[in-house]
Symmetry: C2
């Protein structure tokens, strides 16, 4: 049986990457959506195993020691990380895996899993991002401009990604994520086993 | 406007690569299907500009001198080659291009056009290939086994290709060629211009 593919989805705030991943999960519910672990305290609306896996600092540090993360980082005094074992198991079981994580974490995962596919979701343009953020009505113009600056920097950091999805229409963006997963499955490098077993291809 | 992608389709005899390309052309008639040039004489059924562009040896050699080919080779005393100018023009006009050529030629094109996408079409297994060749009823068992040996060697040579399409069902094989073209268009390396112009990404 062939392995699943590991799709890492990143992008600036306001790009809609979470919505694209949700739409993809609706279409391909057999996909394994990785849930991050964190040492921060649950907040109202949080659900253990749904929004995050909640751990104590001690539990989290024990997992770090045991090489239990594909990547982890500390923000504002709290740990956040991608549990390794469930994602690797899913891939080996032939299930595709989605990790929605930020760029620095993505590059760390790519080091451990060179087969990982880095997908960057971004809004069509800074103007569209500005409209989206303004439309929410929750942020001041200053904060919005700060967010756009952050988006620029995030896109700079994503320059070594494999694919970009310009999220103009949700349906088309989800189509693209499906196309990426399907195209990657027929790359020669992912079919060495078939070529060896069926066609006697030697390494 | 973005450039088209250059799809190079190869595969052993009996893989059905010609049929897959024809089906693709039906679905995406805006694609430019490259026609080879040759110095061999036309045979019954040949049509200039359809099966081949027919050239004299002198004309062909003049084109070689003028760097008029993406690749060319001599077989059995006749030249065969892929004219450069129409393919490059189509790509620059934003049209996708299909070249159906053999593996050695494909690698030569890849050297000149590193963005070219190498797609290998193959039958599901040596047994299926044997059945297909037997089904034609035109070849002796000896010739069929020779063909299967050639297919093995061709697949060895194709080990550095980008994608494989296992041609089990024509429709699915053509789907895969579409998926490859679409996925390649959203690779980061093909969208540098958009990232630079819209998001100020520097090289």
């Amino acid at each position: 049986m062939s392995k699943g593919v590991l799709l890492i989805v990143s992008g600036p705030s306001g790009a809609g990457k979470g919505t694209v991943c949700s739409e993809y999960m609706k279409r391909r519910p057999e996909t394994f959506l990785s849930i991050s672990a964190t040492s921060r305290s649950p907040r109202p609306g949080d659900e253990d195993g749904v929004t995050y896996f909640f751990k104590t600092r001690e539990q989290f540090e024990k997992m770090i020691e045991d090489d239990g993360f594909l990547e982890y980082a500390e923000f504002c005094g709290n740990y956040y990380g991608t549990p390794k074992e469930p994602a690797i198991k899913a891939i080996n079981d032939g299930r595709d895996v989605i990790l929605e994580i930020e760029v620095q974490g993505a590059y760390k995962v790519k080091e451990k899993c060179p087969d990982a596919i880095l997908v960057f979701v971004l809004p069509p343009s800074p103007d569209v991002l500005r409209q989206r953020l303004t439309g929410r009505g929750t942020e001041s113009p200053d904060v919005i401009e700060k967010r756009i600056g952050e988006a620029h920097r995030e896109i700079l950091r994503g320059a070594n990604y494999d694919y970009i999805i310009v999220n103009d229409k949700l349906d088309l963006a989800a189509d693209k994520l499906e196309i990426i997963a399907d195209a990657e499955k027929i790359r020669v490098c992912r079919n060495k086993e078939y070529l060896q077993n069926v066609w006697d291809l030697k390494e």
